[in-house]
């Protein structure tokens, strides 16, 4: 069966520091991959999605970037974090029939 791994679960970073969040999917090939952010008390905002290796689409202009170096690996990065980057980051995959989410990373930028 398919599983999705996301780490770390929690992260506290100072303003201006770099960021790297990793997500890997097992049990499927060529999935669509997504990064969502959930701010406190708000819904989910799609940040990036990818339909294949090296193919990244950005949904909103921001301080973040994404990369897909391998078929089942999706990385969210930042060179310099801002306070406004704090939130709950969720990776998801789909083949068809909806999105399946990882357990999320709670990022606090202080």
């Amino acid at each position: 069966s398919q599983t999705i791994h996301q780490w770390p679960a929690t992260l506290v970073q100072p303003v201006g520091s770099p960021l790297s969040l990793e997500c890997t999917v097992e049990g499927t090939s060529n999935p669509n991959l997504y990064w969502y952010r959930q701010a406190a008390g708000r819904g989910l905002q799609l940040l990036f999605y990818s339909v294949g290796i090296g193919q990244i689409s950005s949904e909103v202009p921001q301080n973040l970037s994404a990369s897909r170096p391998q078929d089942r690996q999706f990385i969210l990065s930042s060179k310099k974090l801002l306070l406004s980057d704090s939130g709950f980051y969720l990776c998801a995959w789909s083949v068809m029939g909806g999105l399946f989410f990882g357990s999320g990373t709670q990022l606090s930028v202080l």
Partner: protein
């Protein structure tokens, strides 16, 4: 643009009582609709989905939802709520390429 509205921020239901969570969507064509549940600090779990066909769809954990095109609604229901159902519930519409647009969520509280 596609959008989803969940008008209730919080709902409190007594254990054993019935539940209905409201969801309205805006989408030009036949929508693909979803309901997800999220426990605190966790990812989202898919409860059910509607693509086409029967407008009443059954999901996991005893949940069901009814698609009503005339009302642009996809309300989630459960006949008898359990304390373990306390969580946040999100309605979503597929905006194309399986990119989901989510509502802001409804937090369900279950009272004894």
């Amino acid at each position: 643009a596609q959008s989803v509205t969940q008008p209730d921020i919080h709902i409190t239901v007594s254990e054993g009582a019935s539940l209905e969570l409201r969801c309205n969507y805006s989408y030009g064509a036949t929508p693909y609709l979803f309901w997800y549940v999220q426990s605190p600090g966790q990812g989202l779990q898919l409860l059910l989905k509607y693509f086409s066909g029967d407008t009443l769809v059954q999901g996991i954990k005893g949940f069901e939802a009814e698609f009503k095109r005339s009302q642009s609604s996809f309300n989630l229901r459960k006949p008898s709520v359990h304390w373990s159902d306390a969580a946040e519930y999100f309605c979503a519409v597929d905006a194309g390429f399986q990119k989901l647009v989510f509502g802001t969520g409804t937090r369900l509280l279950v009272s004894p």
